[in-house]
């Protein structure tokens, strides 16, 4: 006998889950682009980390630095009822998305579009900050915390550290002075820090990353930050001690100096694609014109500065224990020397620099380099990696503004 005959009359869905799975599959096969086409990312991050330790481009608002400990502290209390720590943490973070949407928190909700399909949770975006700023006391990774969650949760005494008479049997997981969460956290959350919360975060930053521009701006110096687009346009920055402004100056100068490289790279691609593909309606020709113009503007600005000497950058790297790979060093030095020798205005037509860029891309991407791989060249969207480095300033500015609003309460 075949299986029993069956029939149904139902509503029918192709679920969001189906869709997400397909997307996941497609992503496995995706041509992965990278913002850092010429491998300058480590140098950019070296400067960003020196200026703003613990921060990330994924950061949006300061109060996440408290949301996450709040979520986990509550979980530590519920420890016996939780079977799957990371699943539970994820569920609570997702619940927070809804709560933030209900509250009038303003922009910056991580996952407000993706919802439960969110691939990168706020906790993972902020973990480095929590560690660096001493909010997560063991200074270990999130997966370490999850693995040791039960042991750590049980060691937590019931009282607060500032209660008299409590002695710690073990190092706490979360900083003992993390303020109490609002009672309606999972109903209507917002990004407004209370005075107590802001003072706590300020204290953590100043105690743990003292001497950085971040710590300086978290203090008095950062009250009344404007909406400057770049950190060097913010007057408060230049009132910091000279050890700090030295790094800010280096960041400003370096970012201008290398801004021409991705412009030249894109110009090169536009020329190659036009010559190769026979583009009849000329979009690539328009791009060529556009990139020449932008290179010209850049060259005018670059020429107004003293020649860039990369030694200061290597010194900073050495001081911070960051290893700069020899090819990366050679690339920057060759770029600097060529400009010092022939002037920034010659960049667009410099055979040597064009070869330098091509070689650099081939080194980084091998057979996938757009300059040699036609398929990848076809996928080029007309601008990759273009724009001046911002060193996370837009994110940091927002978070500092949150902090100072809180302090002013």
């Amino acid at each position: 006998m075949p299986t029993a005959p069956t029939a149904t009359l139902t509503w029918i869905d192709l679920t969001a889950a189906d869709r997400n799975k397909v997307r996941q599959v497609l992503d496995l096969f995706r041509e992965q682009g990278t913002v850092d086409e010429l491998g300058l990312g480590t140098l950019r991050d070296l400067l960003s980390d020196s200026l703003f330790p613990g921060t990330s481009v994924l950061h949006t608002r300061m109060r996440y630095v408290l949301f996450i400990p709040w979520i986990y502290r509550a979980m530590e209390r519920d420890d016996k009822r939780i079977s799957d720590v990371s699943g539970e943490a994820r569920a609570r973070e997702i619940a927070l998305i809804e709560a933030l949407k209900s509250g009038d928190g303003g922009s910056g909700i991580i996952g407000s579009e993706a919802g439960r399909g969110l691939s990168r949770l706020p906790s993972s975006a902020y973990w480095a900050a929590l560690v660096r700023w001493g909010v997560f006391v063991p200074r270990q990774s999130q997966s370490w915390y999850h693995r040791h969650f039960r042991r750590l949760a049980r060691a937590e005494p019931a009282g607060r550290a500032d209660d008299p008479g409590v002695t710690w049997t073990q190092e706490p997981t979360w900083h003992p002075r993390v303020p109490e969460p609002p009672t309606d956290l999972f109903e209507a959350a917002n990004f407004r820090l209370t005075r107590e919360e802001a003072a706590f975060v300020q204290g953590c930053i100043q105690a743990n990353v003292n001497g950085s521009l971040l710590a300086w701006l978290a203090g008095e110096g950062g009250a009344g930050l404007g909406s400057s687009a770049a950190l060097w346009e913010e007057p408060q920055v230049w009132e910091a001690p000279s050890t700090i402004t030295g790094i800010a100056e280096l960041a400003q100068r370096f970012s201008l100096h290398v801004e021409g490289a991705p412009l030249l790279y894109n110009l090169l691609l536009a020329e190659m694609r036009r010559d190769r593909a026979g583009d009849h309606n000329g979009t690539d020709s328009d791009r060529i014109e556009d990139y020449r113009e932008r290179l010209g503007e850049w060259a005018a600005r670059e020429a107004g500065e003293a020649p860039f000497n990369p030694d200061a950058l290597w010194a900073l790297a050495a001081q911070r224990g960051v290893a700069v790979k020899p090819p990366q060093k050679r690339f920057v030095e060759a770029w600097s020397e060529a400009i010092a020798r022939s002037g920034a205005a010659s960049v667009a037509d410099s055979t040597a620099l064009r070869q330098l860029i091509e070689k650099r891309e081939r080194m980084l991407k091998g057979a996938r380099a757009r300059t040699v791989n036609h398929s990848r060249l076809l996928d080029w969207r007309g601008d990759v990696g273009v724009g001046r480095m911002s060193f996370r300033w837009p994110q940091v500015r927002q978070m500092l503004t949150d902090l100072h609003h809180g302090l002013a309460n």
């Binding site: 005959p5 009359l9 509503w11 799975k21 497609l26 992503d27 036609h374």
Partner: protein
């Protein structure tokens, strides 16, 4: 009786019963999202959600699944109905053998949404499962109904209720815009013949068998609308699109009690005469729908179901499927399929399938009375512009466009041949779907592309833009006839996907069970700080050697897969760069160790 929470997931319809495997699936749709078609193999070859997860973790298995699915799954789609994918993918060209553009003989839309899945087993009769639904192959979030039923072909007798569906499947090849492969044609004939001998039982509560009604198979459309029932006392009609002519087919039954559920915009546009005849008009409420807690998140928004329930005497007849209550649908311009089941209408609070039972079961709570509102007449310029776009699309369809591929030194030349119609006030852009839409070109001086072999495709995306009025662009994908398309392209496409050391390592990790790392790899790419993504990094010889050795001792079969991939890649690309040199050395060491053990 069809409560709002009686739901099923469309892809489950393709999952075989225990002990069976999917032998073939024939699906018809008006519109098609190629992403949905990529989702199907997951459902086809994975028996469960865990199975899907396994596939996700093993891309090689998944590629194989895709390849098999293109053999087994055939989609017949209205030739205007393929949507432009939002991202270009080489993978889409691998779907070409599965997609068959068709044209309704009556000149309207090819609109049926029927899935016929044939499941085979080694020692049992085959099982044929049929779904008649209002659902297209898209991810639209909408309220859709499906009637699903399965049975096995009986002995020689023909089953009257199934004749019409059998007819549709038999005639599919004649609707196809391009000639089908003879094997596929033969398979359709065989399936049609089996369908004709299969009884399809009705769902619980109904006591009939399923009777299928197929409309619009003739190229001489009737001048009268199909009438579901000649006489009835009461009717509930549900459809997103409704016209006065279409409704007349229902009022002709003489039904005194009439209830109509549709979209507000549709009802706004109906003439007053209809409003007087159909006093009870309802729309589905959308604001009250709660977010689901489960995986079916993203509740439907918008009515898309088409159902007619007619009561006569003690019985209620249900008609569900693709047909809207419009003249095109009911008078045979479109191809439509409706499934009919019937049963006792039942008494209050009891069993039965009547209109009241359906409303009580929760449907009434989803509806609210329609409140008429004045509509602004559409702006004449926009209407004219939209018409011009559609006219040009039809001209494109009926022209002699085709794709020509000619080999060049390195790449292939891909170009559109034939005459491209033009229209005043319309700009045309087109591009192969394997490229992104910024690379659209206009047809001046016969634009062509130089493409690598794996980007060649029969799918061409078109964008028609009105220059004179502010109306939405009309975008669609056509699958066009091809000339000079090289063989073995789809194999190449699949192999090309593993085209870099990074991807190779990614697959290798998956094969060797490093699954967690794989998903992280897939998930973390939009990250400016993503230093881990650098090409050339992320290769840790020690870890890999360890993994290989562990696999060798515990699960040597896994290494067979590694062996075949490495051999395949070396042979095809001849490009050692894909398999990193360090890895090749490691592999050879492991391989020799294994051989030594095998011969000992």
């Amino acid at each position: 009786m069809l409560a709002p929470d009686a739901r099923q997931v469309a892809t489950d319809i393709l999952r075989p019963p225990p002990g069976y495997r999917l032998d073939r699936a024939v699906m018809t749709t008006y519109s098609l999202d190629l992403e949905v078609l990529l989702a199907l193999p997951l459902a086809v070859l994975a028996q469960s959600d865990e199975g899907v997860d396994t596939l996700l973790e093993q891309p090689l298995l998944l590629l194989q699944a895709l390849r098999e699915a293109t053999d087994r799954v055939h989609v017949f789609v209205d030739e205007t109905g393929i949507a432009v994918p939002h991202l270009p993918r080489e993978l889409y060209s691998a779907l070409e053998p599965s997609v068959h553009p068709v044209r309704a003989p009556g000149g309207g839309a090819f609109h049926p949404k029927v899935w016929v899945a044939r499941f085979a087993s080694d020692d049992e009769q085959p099982v044929i499962r049929v779904s008649v639904a209002s659902r297209n192959l898209t991810f639209d979030r909408s309220w859709d109904i499906a009637l699903v039923s399965e049975g096995s072909p009986g002995e020689a007798e023909s089953v009257p209720g199934s004749a019409s569906l059998s007819d549709l499947v038999r005639r599919l090849p004649t609707f196809a815009a391009q000639t089908l492969q003879p094997e596929l044609d033969a398979e359709l004939q065989h399936l049609s013949e089996e369908l004709g001998r299969t009884r399809f039982p009705a769902p619980e509560g109904f006591d009939s068998e399923v009777t299928f009604h197929t409309l619009g198979l003739s190229d001489a459309p009737a001048n009268r609308a199909w009438q579901p029932m000649p006489t009835a006392r009461r009717v509930l009609a549900i459809a997103p699109f409704v016209g006065a002519d279409g409704l007349r087919a229902l009022t002709a039954s003489g039904a005194k009690e009439r209830m109509l559920v549709s979209r507000a915009e549709t009802l706004d546009a109906l003439p007053d005469a209809v409003h007087r005849q159909w006093i009870d008009q309802q729309v589905m409420m959308e604001a009250d729908l709660e977010e689901a807690e489960d995986e079916t998140a993203g509740r439907p928004a918008g009515l898309h179901a088409k159902a007619i329930i007619m009561e006569h005497g003690y019985r209620a007849h249900w008609f569900v499927g693709s047909a809207n209550l419009t003249w095109s649908a009911l008078a045979g311009r479109n191809v439509e399929v409706m499934a009919e089941v019937s049963g006792s209408k039942g008494y209050s609070e009891g069993k039965g399938v009547g209109i009241d039972r359906f409303l009580e079961a929760g449907f009434a709570q989803l509806c609210a009375p329609y409140a008429a509102k004045d509509t602004e007449p559409a702006d004449a310029t926009s209407v004219a512009a939209e018409k011009a776009l559609q006219q040009l699309r039809d001209d494109l369809l009926h022209g002699d466009l085709r794709i020509c591929c000619t080999p060049g030194e390195e790449d292939w030349r891909w170009e559109l041949a034939g005459s491209l119609p033009v229209a005043a006030g319309v700009e045309v852009g087109y591009w192969p779907v394997t490229l992104n839409r910024e690379q659209a070109r206009s047809p001046v001086d016969g634009a062509s592309w130089q493409l690598p072999l794996e980007r060649l495709t029969a799918f061409v995306a078109f964008r028609l833009r009105a220059t004179a009025a502010e109306v939405d662009d009309l975008t669609f994908v056509l699958k066009l006839p091809t000339e000079g398309m090289p063989d073995g392209r789809s194999d190449r496409v699949l192999r090309m996907i593993i085209n870099t050391p990074e991807r190779f390592l990614q697959f290798l990790r998956a094969l060797l069970g490093g699954l967690e790392g794989l998903m992280e790899w897939a998930g973390g790419e939009d990250d400016e700080d993503g230093q881990g993504q650098h090409w050339g990094s992320g290769f840790d010889a020690d870890t890999l050697l360890e993994d290989l050795l562990r696999a060798a001792s515990r699960d040597p079969e896994r290494l067979e897969a590694v062996r075949s991939v490495i051999e395949d890649l070396t042979e095809v690309s001849g490009d050692a760069a894909v398999v990193p040199e360090e890895l090749r050395a490691i592999w050879q060491a492991v391989d020799q160790a294994l051989e030594g053990r095998a011969t000992r």
